[in-house]
């Protein structure tokens, strides 16, 4: 009998998971080094832009990785449109300090004077907590003023964060600020930042990982740490570089038997097929492990590509693959 209703969604529908992720105001993309954070941030930006969303892609304290991708050599502190519906911005701690100071003091001349003061500069530059605090301040005001609750200049802000340590530090900032400043403007900001970071409907913590033992373990640990210390769970875990193909068992067996007879001819063929099959098996087991440990509908997979440098076309193909899933 045909039902009038759409069939209930599959327990893990990648397309729905992606849509739910992109419906937020702010995505914080993080993970251990080398897992492909910047690639994932760009893929998410293109996927959101494809839906007609206006996206701001923000990088902090890094050599811009978005710049070579979007063929734009100068991505700096001012948001700049780099593709249809996509703006990019690359911030340093000093950029965020200037932003903060100008907003507080209103008089740019005073800011330049204050920032010329070596003591002020030394204080801001060197204090370890100040960098993530300034960055978070800029991110927060940007989302509040220009996001869906503000003038709607951007529907989504996607933030490519430097390291997983940085994101843990960033979540600690509101409490640190409330500890130092009990009243006054900073105390108010701390409240606002905390509210934004802790609201799962507004901010999506996006953890990127690879199908290897340690990255999977470390991702689960980072998730547990943020959940325990700050009550924030990952909106999505993106398993990157999943080997999308394999060679069937009967083929591997036949290669094995044939290579035993003629290792000179078949040896390299066997090694090749085994490598691919092993990578695939490892990716599937990583996906299984993550699904077991994570809340339902959290895992999103992205296929491995046989390229060392991804261009915009590759990013777009990944954005399509994001909605299909590969494991």
């Amino acid at each position: 009998m045909m039902s009038q209703h759409a069939p209930p969604p599959l327990p893990d529908d990648p397309n729905r998971n992606v849509n739910a992720l992109l419906d937020r105001e702010l995505l914080l993309v993080t993970g251990k080094g080398g897992v492909g954070k910047s690639t994932v941030a760009a893929v998410l930006a293109r996927a959101a832009a494809e839906q007609g969303k206006k996206v701001l892609l923000v990088e902090f304290e890094s050599i811009s990785r978005a710049a070579p991708l979007f063929g734009s050599h100068v991505i700096g502190p001012e948001p700049r449109q780099v593709a249809p519906h996509i703006w990019a911005q690359s911030l340093s701690a000093m950029d965020s300090l200037r932003y903060f100071a100008i907003r507080q003091l209103k008089v740019p001349a005073l800011v330049h004077l204050a920032l010329r003061n070596k003591a002020v500069e030394g204080f801001f530059r060197a204090s370890p907590a100040v960098r993530p605090a300034l960055f978070l301040y800029q991110l927060w005001t940007t989302v509040e003023e220009h996001g869906p609750k503000g003038d709607h200049h951007w529907n989504l802000v996607i933030c490519d964060l430097p390291t997983s340590g940085f994101v843990a530090g960033m979540y600690a900032i509101p409490n640190m600020l409330s500890g130092v400043f009990r009243t006054g403007p900073v105390a108010t900001y701390a409240e606002g930042m905390r509210a934004l970071l802790r609201d799962p409907a507004r901010t999506g913590l996006t953890l990127v990982t690879l199908p290897e033992d340690m990255p999977v373990v470390e991702t689960l640990e980072l998730r547990a740490l943020l959940l325990e210390r700050h009550g924030v769970d990952a909106a999505a875990v993106i398993l990157n570089a999943v080997m999308p193909r394999s060679h069937d068992v009967d083929v591997l067996d036949a290669l094995d038997r044939a290579a035993d007879r003629d290792p000179g001819l078949l040896g390299p063929w066997r090694i090749t097929a085994e490598r691919i099959a092993n990578r695939r098996a490892k990716a599937l087991s990583a996906a299984r492990r993550l699904r077991e440990m994570l809340p339902p509908n959290t895992l999103i997979t992205l296929p491995w590509r046989f390229e060392r440098e991804l261009n915009l076309q590759a990013i777009d193909e990944l954005a399509l693959a994001l909605r299909k899933g590969v494991a």
Binding site: G34, P68, F181, L265
Partner: protein, 412 residues
Amino acid sequence: MKTPHPIAQLPVADVLRRARLIVACGSGGVGKTTTSAALALQAAMAGRRVLVLTIDPAQRLMQALGLKTVLGDGPPQLPNTPLEVLPRLASQLPKPLPPGASLHAMMLDASVAAEQMVERLLGDAANRQRVVQNRVYRAFLPTLAASPEYFALELIYTLREKGQFDLMVLDTPPMHNAIDLLHASNTLSSFINDRVLKWFSKIPLPGEKRGFSILGAGNSMAMSVLGRLFGRDALPDIAQFFGAFQDVLPKLRDRTQATDRMLRAPDTRFLIVTAPGETCLREARHLHAELMEQAMPFAGFVVNRVLVAAQPPPDAAQIPAIAAALEAAGLSPMRAEDAAVEVLESAQDLQRLADADAQHVQSLQHLAGPDRVCAVVVQRDGDIHTIAELASLGAEIAGAQDLDADRLAVLG
């Protein structure tokens, strides 16, 4: 283009034999931690007393050094304390450890290190009490973990003074630029420098009657700026925090200058750890340029995870022969042909990666020049799980040469 220098002539082994401090730097995810552990183990197997210090949460290192099985699954109980790895695990090594050799591992907890340093610096108990109770200090302390570079150097310097180790290997946090490490000591002393202190010391402390009027015009304006930034009521705590450091500033400065000298010492060596890929390559070049500009003792590159394709490369011309062999091994004729075509496609895909990697290695060899190392580590199929695997990795990085304990000599 210059012919790349043969790798075997300048093995990392040479660096391991002579350096007293090896700083492994590079962007995240290139295998710095594992490389550092493998290098440290290699040097220990050559007869040296070695310490490897890691700033990362260091799961990899702990796993590779077998510390997880000893300490359970959590982090080691004693951060900032060298923990002996060898000779405890020496029985798993391919050959016995030379007499006198040892390997220790240490994990850095920057907030604990900061606390210890502050307590050491603020000798006077009353002063220490004031600082420890100051809410600025207490709020800042946990956040120091976010910039662990300085405290790593400080710990290494302290251990160096004790002379317990011949070689220390520092696994640095992921860096986009070397500036973080090179300027770590400057940064700390500029955070707590004369001007900052003088300036903050003019803010009246709680209970003091002193007003802003006694300040010079520039200072009172700066004070008003700070007041507008943060709210005036937070200033006294900030002032007290900095005030407490006034007496210890010269001590701190001596110390930071000493760590800075240590980084530039003739027996210190920087290794840039990297991996194939345009992004890694770009960042390795950037780091290299910075080290050169700062005239730091750069020893070379370690290029991890270089893909080497199966040899000889599978070729389309072989398809009929492969299909026939697969058919003889039990596949149907059609399946055999399809399988051969599919595997050929995989082989060509992998070959493309291998070609790209070879080019990246060549470009780094060129950058390293004839006087520096460029060690290539072939991509492995699995993670490093045992100390024996770590030893084999170390041997590969070191240029597969046997280190000769008799030839140990300290540079400079």
